[in-house]
């Protein structure tokens, strides 16, 4: 994994962390409800954990697959999935549905997992993962053991991504809770979902282009 790829994973993580829908806003709400910064801070790890789980599943599958089948197939198939999912997100007006705000830590992990999955957070790492040369390609003959190793590589990538996501989320949550106030949402909450969907379509196209 090159520094460029690590930077790309971290950049995407920061992008996910900045999105209020991914969790920092919920952390702020929990803190405000109980009038406690501690509650806010304690909400962040479960949210990050749910995000990690969502991303890691996709990353592990992609990495494991690309160690076994030809890289260009993963790129083309994965890229197409990404373009299709992005287009669907772009055109659909449906939003994530959830009722209930008093969640235990376990439920909070579950909420974050579903929220990240519904947004296709893991899929967005596809261009980075599909173009990462896997250790498998250097050693031939032990195909059966390569998949799990490559999957670990995917999990590692997800970890880098999530650390960046967590950092961005924590900064946003604390800034808004302590200094800025929620009214900023009314002006600054740019429609990240549309941008997000556009990025997916672009990333999918890029993946296909890089692998063909």
């Amino acid at each position: 994994m090159s520094w460029g790829q690590i930077a790309a994973l971290a950049g995407l993580g920061a992008f996910h962390g900045l999105n209020p829908a991914m969790g920092w806003l919920f952390a702020v709400a929990r803190g405000m409800q109980e009038r406690s910064r501690t509650v806010l801070l304690r909400s962040l790890p479960p949210i990050a954990l749910g995000h990690l789980a969502s991303v890691a599943i996709v990353a592990a599958v992609v990495s494991a697959t690309s160690s076994i089948v030809a890289a260009n197939i993963v790129g083309i198939v994965g890229g197409s999935v990404l373009v299709a999912f992005g287009l669907w997100r772009l055109l659909s007006e449906r939003h994530f549905r959830w009722a209930g705000m008093r969640l235990s830590n376990t439920q909070l992990i579950g909420w974050s997992f579903l929220m990240s999955s519904a947004h296709g957070a893991g899929l967005m790492l596809l261009p980075v993962l599909a173009t990462t040369p896997m250790p498998a390609s250097e050693h031939s003959g032990h195909l059966a053991s390569l998949g799990p190793m490559a999957a670990l590589e995917g999990v590692f990538a997800s970890g880098i991504h999530t650390v960046a996501m967590f950092t961005a989320m924590a900064i946003c949550a604390v800034l808004v809770y302590e200094y800025v106030g929620l009214n900023i949402l009314r002006r600054a909450w740019f429609n990240v979902d549309k941008l997000w969907a556009g990025v997916m379509v672009g990333a999918g196209a890029l993946t296909i282009a890089l692998t063909v």
Binding site: V28, A29, E93, W98, A99, G100, M101, R102, R187
Partner: protein, 467 residues
């Protein structure tokens, strides 16, 4: 159609919403009691700087007759900012307008041309019946869909009434909300404490108990609703029922505190069969369980039988009939409509357990017939009924019809049609605005039931962040 920035009418907290600009227009549900003409949404100019201030400036007839428009609400509101399922880039552009008698629900666009609402969808009664309900009443924009309370079941004029959910985007009826309703049977209003996963419902009667007028035997037999139900909003199950006592007939309008850090709310009771008084109660959490406490008692006013309608002559008194209450967005003032005595009362409820009356205005009334100051020589029928408060709390609007068949019983010589506006003093007190009084023929023979203010009002929005 999604936006790039949040809809400017969405506010994270009640204190943010209290800083909203003044409404330019009001939407009023107008219905023809005789069901000869279609019901309509009337648009009234509320901009004091406008030449047509206080006049009906727009009118949209519905395509059918006999709907009996009643309450209505918005497709989206400040709850779109709630953090578990945020969708702040939708527009508050559609009024969701149920026909209480027809069970049809209309979706009406008011964004393209705010003075000329346009019907974009009609949900037939059969769709609501498929969810098990009829006689749709209250609309609230929830975090995951549009919630609609309904008085009756989907097959006949009986119960149970309950809640159906409409899809935010397509407005299709998604289905029955309740997973386990316990022994809840009567339905009417609902609202919630969103951040605490609590939904509250109240009780009126089944369609058979109300549609042909109030039934004295049922009232004196204490058969109308007198309970509150508290539900788990996430699990959709009944968690607790509190009985106010069966003498307290008709627990109607629910007004929870807007600030989500407060877990209390107010409910109005129309009449006590023991002394014809009306009351307001506060629900609150006490050692984990909900409890209700009576905080306002409004006595009946003695009157000679000759000035009373037949239904009230045996009692020799006018019941106040608290048919609506409304809580200002800052949770400071509670407005209480006494539709029988023709009075709007204002209470300071900063301490919800000890309301202090700080204002009172008389208008109409079964006996009083108090005229509006803009036309002092014309006695008024009806009384202040549905109350709507502007987001900044400075203006209050009241309409005068209760419900077609009940209007006829309490105001048998005609209830008329009027919309009045009151200005609120900074520390309470109300003054009728003499420049604002659309009434009579301006509403083209229809009666007027409820008002919604452009951009939202004190009973339309729910907030997930404390002030």
């Amino acid at each position: 159609m999604t936006r790039w920035t949040p809809d400017p009418t969405f506010y994270p907290s009640p204190s943010d919403a209290a800083g909203a600009p003044a409404e330019q227009l009001a939407y009023v549900a107008a219905f023809d009691r005789s069901a000869q003409q279609p019901d309509a949404i009337a648009v009234v100019d509320t901009d004091p700087g406008s030449d047509s201030y206080g006049q009906v400036v727009g009118w949209t007839d519905l395509p059918h007759t006999g709907d009996e428009l009643h309450h209505f609400g918005w497709n989206a509101c400040s709850s779109a900012l709630c953090p578990t399922a945020p969708h702040p880039h939708v527009s508050r552009r559609y009024l969701i307008v149920p026909g209480l008698r027809s069970s049809r629900i209309y979706v009406i666009d008011v964004l393209d041309d705010p003075r000329s609402p346009r019907i974009v969808k009609e949900i037939p009664a059969s769709s609501l019946a498929a969810a098990g309900y009829s006689r749709p009443h209250t609309i609230h924009c929830g975090p995951d869909g549009i919630y609609v309370s309904a008085l009756g079941n989907g097959t006949d004029g009986d119960g149970p009434g309950g809640i159906a959910v409409l899809d935010h985007t397509t407005f299709d009826v998604r289905g029955k909300w309740e997973v386990d309703r316990g022994d809840q049977f009567l339905a009417y209003d609902f609202w919630w404490h969103l951040t605490r996963d609590v939904l509250v419902t109240s009780e009126w009667g089944t369609p058979d108990m109300i549609e042909n007028g109030i039934v004295p035997e049922l009232l004196l037999g204490r058969k109308y609703g007198h309970r509150l139900h508290f539900w788990d909003l996430a699990k959709r199950t009944l968690a607790q029922t509190v009985d106010l006592g069966d003498q307290y007939q008709m627990t109607l309008e629910l007004r929870p505190a807007h600030d989500p850090s407060r877990e209390y709310g107010f409910v109005g009771v129309v009449v006590s069969v023991e002394d014809l008084s009306a009351s307001v109660w506060v629900w609150h959490r006490s050692e984990g369980e909900f409890a209700v406490t009576k905080v306002i008692d409004i006595p009946a006013e003695p009157a000679p039988a000759s000035s009373l309608p037949p239904a009230l002559q045996p009692f020799g008194a006018v019941p106040p009939l608290v048919t609506d209450i409304d809580l200002s967005v800052d949770d400071k003032f509670l407005y209480v409509s006494c539709w029988g005595t023709g009075e709007l009362k204002q209470y300071d409820v900063s301490d919800p357990f000890h309301p202090v009356e700080v204002g009172s205005v008389r208008l109409g009334g079964i006996v009083g017939r108090v005229a509006h100051p803009s036309d002092p020589s014309s006695p008024l029928s009806g009384g202040p009924q549905m109350v709507e408060v502007s987001r900044d709390g400075k203006r209050v609007y009241v309409t005068n019809s209760l419900y077609g068949s009940w209007d006829d019983q309490f105001y048998p010589d005609g209830v008329g049609a009027w919309l009045a506006k009151l200005d609120v003093g900074s520390s309470g007190g109300m003054t009728l605005d003499e420049r604002f009084f659309p009434h009579g023929d301006e509403f083209r023979g229809r009666r007027v039931h409820q008002t919604r203010l452009q951009g939202g009002d004190a009973s339309s929005d729910s907030y997930c962040f404390p002030s």
